[in-house]
Symmetry: C2
Subunit: 330 residues, 2 copies
DNA sequence: GCAGACTTGGAAACCGCTTTCCCTGGAGGT
DNA sequence: ACCTCCAGGGAAAGCGGTTTCCAAGTCTGC
């Protein structure tokens, strides 16, 4: 590997000068020497050793993003938003996937801390386990104590800058819209009880029904993914409208109904949450609550990088989008 | 930030001993000292500075993956496969997205080289531009000259270990299957001519038709994404069967037909390529060529890490999957 | 023509960790 | 007992950069 010293030697200058030429310093270097150094670097194919730079500078140009599952389009969109924002800042991105294991999440924070990344983004729902959350907070605190910056997309449970989707409000608004279509008997495919995102959406939905004086929905718990929606749909009773707490679950439910010959929306209405872009061509088109995922990812990065010490929590509203998967009751 | 020296001081041992205890060395350390060091590290909340370790060891535990677009489920699946494999090796992953800009790809190789990552994976179709490919090869060579390892998922054009989907053969087999259903007039939504993946699939398909003595298909070029498929579908003439060179284009085409009231498969048959998992609930279910994307990603990582100097190119066969989006002709 | 303010170049300290090399003390062999 | 070996501990030399601190010009303005 060719080092800066090689370049300096070849150019006949000192290490200091070579460094100043090749890696943006505030100091000026004479045109003649500058040219010599650049030529030498080019001839030798020099590539700065970033580990060494990071060590010397005490600051890296890498950020870390921790998501649950990259193949889930929800996280892909969020991560993509954050990565684009990072790219415009000239930052590299280290991505970790936890596959929904909170221990993994904690471990990643420790690892990213060890890497001395500039910032870490925790993307995804918190779990309702104070012990786990506590340990994660500890690890984050340790990281921040060393000058690290952190932000989160999800619930404001970590004491860091947070982009918080308005899950309760969005679900409540959706409930209102569906009730407005004349539905009265609802079921909620509620996902796992310990997932705060799922729980919030379920609670927001149920709460709104209560306020409207409608009967409580049938609540069916299960996994937060497509197969979870598929399985949960089998247990729905006499509801005329089913709310799956995320889009991929809704798609699973639709698949279940299709297989059983139940027509959507004629026989039952189905709604989801997130408005996943990849699903825009789904048939029937899914009624859902749109979240500006890319923007949220980008915003989270901004918040993390932001120098202000004050913690900011930004609510992001969802927008109800009615499509063909729900129908107006007679 | 607490350093190893702090730990050593607190434990009353030398730097060397502390290092040996905390970061797996071959050397033994007495139980008493070992315990003291571990306790000190724990109390202080020590996290090794990986930049320093990388520098001192001359080897990092990071790999780089370069993909075109993470929100495209094709790349998400490939990346996920590679990332899981990396995780089992205890490697961290740096992800770069190029958004199909070959210059970006080259730049990422340079950057990852600077990071001295253990390996880089180039995931995605090559472009048919010898100049660009040449510069990429140069950059790769520079990286490999410094001891870096590289692998590619796509076409064997880089002189590195490659996992190569059998695009031509898969498309040819698909053509055979569709012809077997009685179709004779075909159209190909061919994507961009300079994308080798797209071109290969198109060529494989056309070639098979020729061998079967069938007329050449109508070839329509356009972008490689959903909207590209949507637009291209508008230009299809009197074909009874349309082959989109990837699944997301096929979905776009289906959307276009749906909007125009053209029924699939009754009025026209549509097939794609890749068998994207997220699309499994699409209506109508998409006929396609299945590629084991996760395995391919994982395999590429294996190849990259593999010490053998001989470069290996692995063909991965696709499997034709007939589903409802195509019908048998009378 | 000269003091003082800028520039520009280089020597060397330092970033935090690994690892070689040296030293010491105790176990094992005869 | 004596000598050899070996295991465990520490000092110090890097790893490849950055940056502080000097020194030696180079310009200014009078």
């Amino acid at each position: 590997m060719v080092t800066l010293e090689d370049v300096a030697k070849q150019a006949g200058v000192s290490l200091a000068t070579a460094s100043r030429v090749l890696n943006g310093s505030t100091r000026q270097v004479g045109a003649a020497l500058r040219a010599r150094v650049e030529q030498a670097a080019d001839e030798l194919g020099y590539r700065a050793n970033i580990a060494a730079q990071t060590l010397a500078r005490g600051a890296s140009n890498v950020i870390g993003i921790v998501v649950h599952d990259l193949t889930d389009p929800y996280f892909a969109a969020l991560a993509d938003g954050a990565m684009r924002a990072a790219a415009t800042e000239g930052l590299l991105v280290m991505v970790g996937t936890t596959h929904r294991d909170p221990e993994q999440e904690i471990a990643y924070v420790a690892t990213l801390n060890a890497q001395r990344v500039r910032a870490v983004l925790l993307v995804g729902s918190r779990v309702a386990d104070p012990a786990v959350t506590g340990r994660l907070r500890e690890e984050l605190a340790r990281y921040q104590a060393g000058g690290g910056r952190a932000a989160c997309v999800g619930q404001d449970l970590l004491g860091v800058d947070t982009v918080a989707p308005a899950n309760r409000a969005g679900a409540a608004e959706l409930a209102g819209a569906l009730a407005g279509l004349g539905h009265t008997r609802f079921a909620v495919l509620a996902g796992p009880p310990h997932l705060v995102t799922a729980a919030d959406r379920c609670a927001g939905f149920s709460g709104a029904l209560r306020e409207l004086g409608l009967p409580a929905p049938q609540v069916i718990h299960g996994p937060f993914d497509r197969d979870g929606g598929y399985a949960a749909a089998q247990q729905v009773g006499d509801a005329t409208c089913v709310f799956a707490v995320n889009d991929v679950m809704a798609v699973g439910a639709l698949a279940a109904y299709r297989e059983r010959g139940v027509r959507v929306p004629e026989d039952v209405s189905v709604a989801g949450f997130d408005d996943i872009v990849t699903l825009r061509d789904h048939v029937p088109a899914l009624t859902t609550v749109r979240l500006p995922l890319k923007d949220m990812g980008a915003r989270a990065l901004e918040l993390a990088l932001n120098e202000e010490s004050e913690i900011v929590v930004e609510q992001v509203a969802g927008e109800v989008v009615l499509r063909e998967s729900v129908r107006r009751m007679a």
